[in-house]
Amino acid sequence: MAKIQANRIPVRSQDPAERVKNFEEVSYGYNTEEAVLEAARCIQCKNPRCVAGCPVSIQIPQFIKAIVEGNMESAATIIAADSSLPAVCGRVCPQEVQCEGACIMGIKHEPISIGKLERYVADWAKENQFSTSEKVPSNGKKVAVVGSGPAGLACATDLARAGCDVTVFEALHKPGGVLVYGIPEFRLPKEDVVEYEIGQLQKMGVTIETNVVVGRTVTVDQLFEEGFHAVFIGSGAGLPKFLNIPGENLNGVVSANEFLTRSNLMAAYDPESETPIYVGRKVVVVGGGNVAMDAARTALRLGAEVVVAYRRTEKEMPARIEEVHHAKEEGVVFQLLTNPTAVLGNERGWVTGLQCVQMELGEPDESGRRRPVEIPDSTFDISCDVVIIALGTDSNPLIGRTTPGLEMNRYNGIVADENGVTSREGVFAGGDVVTGAATVILAMGAGRKAAKSILEFLKIGIL
């Protein structure tokens, strides 16, 4: 056996000093030569731990082998069997806790860059117009998919592959869910990646109806009356949480969802767009997840100085390691063990600062993370003119409330089993609306499992 290459082939990325001035993608990804070299590092485990670490069990060693052999079509086909959004997952999966976190190479050396390889294959397929999606003959069954995030898109893909006549209903004016309104352009290019993937879906005959708010424009019951045989709900967890501290409604306090929606969905960073965005001179972002990193790095690009205030330490931060690393490189300042207690404002009602207390780590809580506790008399102020709240989201109760017989949990999420089956016959659900805010790949996996259940419910043989 050839000598093991301990270290990863580094991935090229835009220079931090340059990229803070633009919204272009930060990571360039591998070229063919780099991809083949990186792929060659994989020792092709008989019992691959990486596959167990991937929520949708992509046949990782097999597709990596195909890359080494230069057979990209085969690599793309292998990935497509388990994932319908590889260009997205390759870019945004928290690989360090999934496939790459489990990779055997990671024990002594650096794990294989599985995500970057997956992205390479997906980008190759797009450039070479190698498509695994085509229209199949109809089986005569109509299925409605509510929400066009990763859960809905993945569910629609599998249903269309089985010949169902699928219509996706989306409340906003653009399909993609968080992929278009939340995750910024510099991490996930909208036109090249998201719109392309959605285009593939439309090629398979899936209809996408935007501007339809299910529960308002049309109810789930009315969808059945319109002739749909089954309904999948993948409406996500879009309702932003606030801190409920004094001053939170001052001018200059926004949720990360508002800030990112203005910037991404409404393209406020683009001078052509008519949507305003207010970034001020100094921004404090409250939170430590991907959403906080995205908001911070967007504010930076819009010209502000940015501080991230997080109540635990870096080790507990839920954001992907790569994002934290990129944020630091770009100049985001991290103020850790910091918990906001009030937003301060001037007499005109505009933000002037954030009052915080210093925390320390105490005993572990249910999640196993050490609970932050307040240090007495440690109050201090951070001056700023904008505060972005990135504390996570709950589900929007609209669909649950307008669909009789659909059981909901106390977070307004929909109750569904691991196969996406809900309390209402013919209604299936998956993704963030069931689990609470999670990840793209988990939502996608849930969409696919639900598609399988729907096909069983409709008594259609699975391909």
């Binding site: 708010v213 308002r216 001018n251 406020a268 767009s273 965005i277 819009l302 929007n396």
Partner: protein, 285 residues
């Protein structure tokens, strides 16, 4: 695309449009709004549903030109189309849950300020069809700005027009007319005020003196209109509510109007800049 079937100006800066949007036309209820976009780079603009015709599949909106986006809406002509038209959004007016028999016994007073006349119309029409007794106060700066008076007379028992300058009807503010009616012994089970935030605030203060139950419809800033961003948040009864999904109608006595008015001005500096495209937000603070 959502075709504009009809368009006419009701006043120099206020235009009415009928738009083809069959799904909304068949699901709309009084009190609800929708969100439109004029172009692929346009803002999402909330507008009240002012009428709806399920048979024709059409929805009526009335827009007042106040800034860049509303000007673009009013510049569209019959035969043009909106790229996006989403709704109905928001919670319908509370009275749609009341039994017809109960509504027949009820007396309503609507207080419409300026453009607010348009959103009041579908509510008055609904109540009229259910047999309720409805009176309407319409207020405007001057005679030219009084809109939809004729339509309103078709569905309301009484219509009182007030103008600030006395060029038509009662000379004075809607609050003065309202007090006059109440002082003269008129009684109402419920009042509803829709108009500029400042007018709703003063109607609330006046109505309080008479213990008149009052509902207002809040026209906050909005982005998505589906509960996803929190731009529309208002304090109602000491709690934060999202006007787009919890409202837009609220019990007037619970609303923090001063905060709501301040929040409406959040993007003012930027909007003022909108026309010379200096708006990436770099140095606006």
């Amino acid at each position: 695309m959502y075709d504009i079937l009809k368009k006419r100006f009701l006043a120099p800066d206020i235009c009415l449009m009928e738009v083809l949007a069959p799904r909304i036309a068949s699901s709309a209820k009084p009190g609800q709004f929708l969100i439109v976009r004029v172009s692929e780079v346009g803002e999402r603009i909330p507008l009240t549903i002012c009428d709806y015709n399920p048979l024709a599949g059409s929805v009526t909106i009335v827009t007042q030109q106040v800034g860049a986006s509303s000007r673009r809406i009013c510049a569209l002509e019959e035969g043009d189309a909106f790229v996006d038209f989403a709704g109905p959004l928001g919670v319908p007016s509370a009275f749609i849950h009341e039994e017809d028999e109960a509504l027949k016994q009820k007396k309503y007073l609507f207080i419409a300020g300026g453009l607010g006349t348009a959103p009041v119309y579908p509510q008055v029409k609904y109540l009229h069809e259910k047999g309720a007794h409805v009176e309407v106060i319409i207020g405007a700066k001057t005679k030219d700005l009084v809109i939809m008076e004729e339509e309103m007379r078709q569905v309301a028992k009484e219509v009182y027009v007030c103008t600030d300058d006395g060029s038509y009807g009662f000379k004075g503010l809607v609050t003065e007319k309202m007090k006059e009616l109440l002082d003269a012994g008129h009684t109402y089970d419920q009042a509803v005020a829709i108009g500029p935030m400042i007018m709703m605030k003063f109607v609330t203060l006046s109505a309080k003196e008479y213990d008149l139950p009052l509902t207002v419809s809040l026209n906050t800033l909005m982005v998505d209109g589906t509960g996803m961003c929190g731009a529309c948040r208002v304090t109602v009864g000491g709690q934060t509510k999202f006007a787009c999904v919890d409202g837009p109608e609220f019990d007037a006595y619970q609303v923090n109007f001063d905060e709501a008015m301040r929040r409406q001005g959040m993007y003012k500096t930027q909007e003022a800049d909108a026309d010379h495209k200096c708006r990436i937000g770099l140095k606006n603070g």
